[in-house]
Amino acid sequence: MPVSWLILILAALTLGGYIAGRARARASVQGDVRRLHSLPSYYGYNVALFALVPALAVLALWLLAQPMLIDARVSGMIPDTLIPEGSNQSLVMSDVRRVADGLELAVSSGAMSADEVAALDADATDIRARLGEMGVALGSDVRPEVLEAAQAYRAMSSTGTLWMTGVVLVLALAGLAWSYSRTHSEFRARNVVERGVLTLLILAASIAILTTVGIVLSMLFETINFFSLHDWKDFFLGATWAPNFRGDSELSILPLLWGTLYISLIALIVAVPIGLFAAIYLSEYASKPVRAFAKPLLEILAGIPTIVYGLFALLTVGPLLVDIFGRGEEGLLGLNWMSGATSVLTAGVVMGIMLIPFVSSLSDDIINSVPQSMRDGSLGLGATKSETVRQVVMPAALPGIVGAILLAASRAIGETMIVVMGAGAIAKFSLNPLESMTTITTRIVSQLTGDTDFASPETLVAFALGLTLFVLTLGLNILALYIVRKYREQYE
């Protein structure tokens, strides 16, 4: 039975459980619901929960675990000699799975009977051609061992699925029956349902947290691998970034970190004043219609994909800067300081433009949360609007705004597309903003694209870089949240 049917049956049982539970609760007090401990619907929810949740949990776990277990068993059946040169076990296993799926399809579509499939012989039939007729393309001819493995795979998964269906249905029925039998007027259904809801919420929260932990752990393992292959002193304290895929590379984070911080700094220099002034204008000066028009517009700007900003850097801002600072006599200033369109300034300016809506919409929210009575107090003493903004509104909103700026900084540090397209690829320490430089994120991309070998430090360094970046932005975010929270407490 396909899983979708199983889920439909579960849904039906849940609904039935709800109706039955509610009806039984009503019946247990002869229809006088005031004598029930909880509202009748809670008894319904209680039965529905017990019918659905355990069964669904087992179903989910089973669906995850079954393929893994079967894979492990079947891959044991494939002799090492079968694995061709340049290939590996997982490629052969995926062949096995394709054949198994193809056979399954053949049976369900009626092209072959189950007996026919069971009697298949790889040497006698051209299985590749037959499966090809049904739209299942195979990369190579099916060898007898693969066919045998595929047959075993099929057999195991069909018994597995049968068992799964049985177990899940029994569990659902048992849950339903048990909670139904508990339904009577004294039973505290509301408390049970409340606890059920709580568990559900905790589950959702822990999934979010566990994923983060999982990401960090996987990065951590690869990072540890990297440090076992490469000296940590070179990574943290070296001065050169010179990866060399023949080995013996110098992989220091410092030049990349310098590029990252320099570009982020320029981005903030562009974004913070403009974003902040825009926010002040919108929240303090703009009339209602202007605000209603401009605020959504700014928020749309925040939704533009960063690759579009990258194109903007590459096609517009870069050439414009070259026109101003470069090209010798032909240039605007007659200078020859800048040769290529990619530079720290290009990337920084465009990234700053990207951050403007981010800074302004966060600051706007913070400025708006300063109570109107503060402004009234100041205006009532004869202060002008700008005096009020400068001396009352801004100091009150400052901690929140600092938090917003830190959040913007952590976005700038983690930004990839704009720097890939606008900053260049040369890792160096330089103060000149017109030169190209590179950042941590762009190097991660370049170390992981193309031919990668996950046993070489040149590839693994990407994880060490990623982890450092993660720690950096995490630190900034925590600081920002701390400041924002502290500020909130002042008013509430």
Partner: protein, 265 residues
């Protein structure tokens, strides 16, 4: 409104600080103030009384154009300060508010130190030549606000950390520090104990020597004690306006009488 004409005759026009003529206030479609005429004299205390929601605060806020900050609020008619219409285009509301100070119904100290709260106005208007003068102004204002003894040892603690009644007196001190010509006080004693109330009333009496004071209050006794003129508002109308003594002893309008004797409101 025939009863009012007799009262108006006794008011000499030269001593009028503020004259409101045909003032209408709308919040969107709500008509909050309906055709109010009132004269506020120099060197007098005028009390506004009336049931909650009748428009006392709204009218008070018209007198220094604080209603400008409310988008949906619209004011019609004219209000003359020293003979000049404050709703005229030429008039700068900022300058106006420096002359007509205000203490709000809800205390609203700035999230700054107590000292900076009081020094805020004098600093903006450049009233002190040096630090010593500023210190003097701050101390005098805090004494007049009847709060000096409580805060003199912690002038640099945040003003938001004070109790509700202390904040109210801090806001009074903050308003008098700028030496306004007219002081509008919206229920300045609503959170004060009898002792502090008496001190604030003393301050109002003292301010009357030089300025004119308008006070909104829900306490009949307070209105009777501190004011020379009383205006009674009801549902956005100015029902009766006249000498305090006459309003409390011999009101002409039946609504005034039922309010001060406690039958409506």
């Amino acid at each position: 409104m025939n009863q009012m004409t007799s009262v108006e005759k006794t008011v000499s026009t030269e001593a009028n600080k503020i004259t409101a003529e045909g003032v209408q206030v709308y919040y969107g479609d709500t008509h909050a103030i309906k055709d109010v005429n009132v004269q506020i004299e120099d060197k007098t205390v005028t009390a506004f009384i009336g049931p909650s929601g009748c428009g006392k605060s709204t009218f008070l806020r018209c007198l220094n154009r604080m209603n400008d900050t409310i988008d949906i609020c619209r004011v019609e008619g004219q209000i003359l300060l020293d003979g000049e219409n404050i709703y005229d285009r030429k008039v700068d509301p900022v300058q106006l508010r420096a002359k007509v100070g205000m203490v709000f119904q809800k205390p609203n100290p700035f999230p700054k130190s107590i000292y900076d709260n009081v020094a805020y106005g004098p600093r903006i208007h450049g009233l002190a030549r040096n630090k010593a003068e500023l210190d003097e102004i701050v101390e005098k204002a805090l004494r007049r606000g009847a709060i000096w003894n409580e805060v003199k040892d912690r002038l640099h603690a945040p003003g938001t950390g004070l109790s509700g009644g202390q904040q109210q007196r801090l806001c009074i001190a903050r308003a008098v520090a700028t030496e306004p010509e007219v002081l509008l006080m919206d229920e300045p004693c609503s959170a004060l104990d009898p002792i502090a109330t008496a001190q604030v009333e003393e301050l109002i009496d003292e301010l009357r020597q030089n300025y004119s004071v308008v006070i909104v209050t829900h306490s009949m006794q307070q209105a009777a004690r501190v004011s020379q003129k009383t205006a009674f508002f009801h549902l956005g109308n100015l029902v009766e306006f006249g000498e305090t003594g006459q309003i409390f002893t011999n009101p002409t309008d039946p609504r005034t009488e039922s309010y001060i004797t406690g039958r409506i409101g």
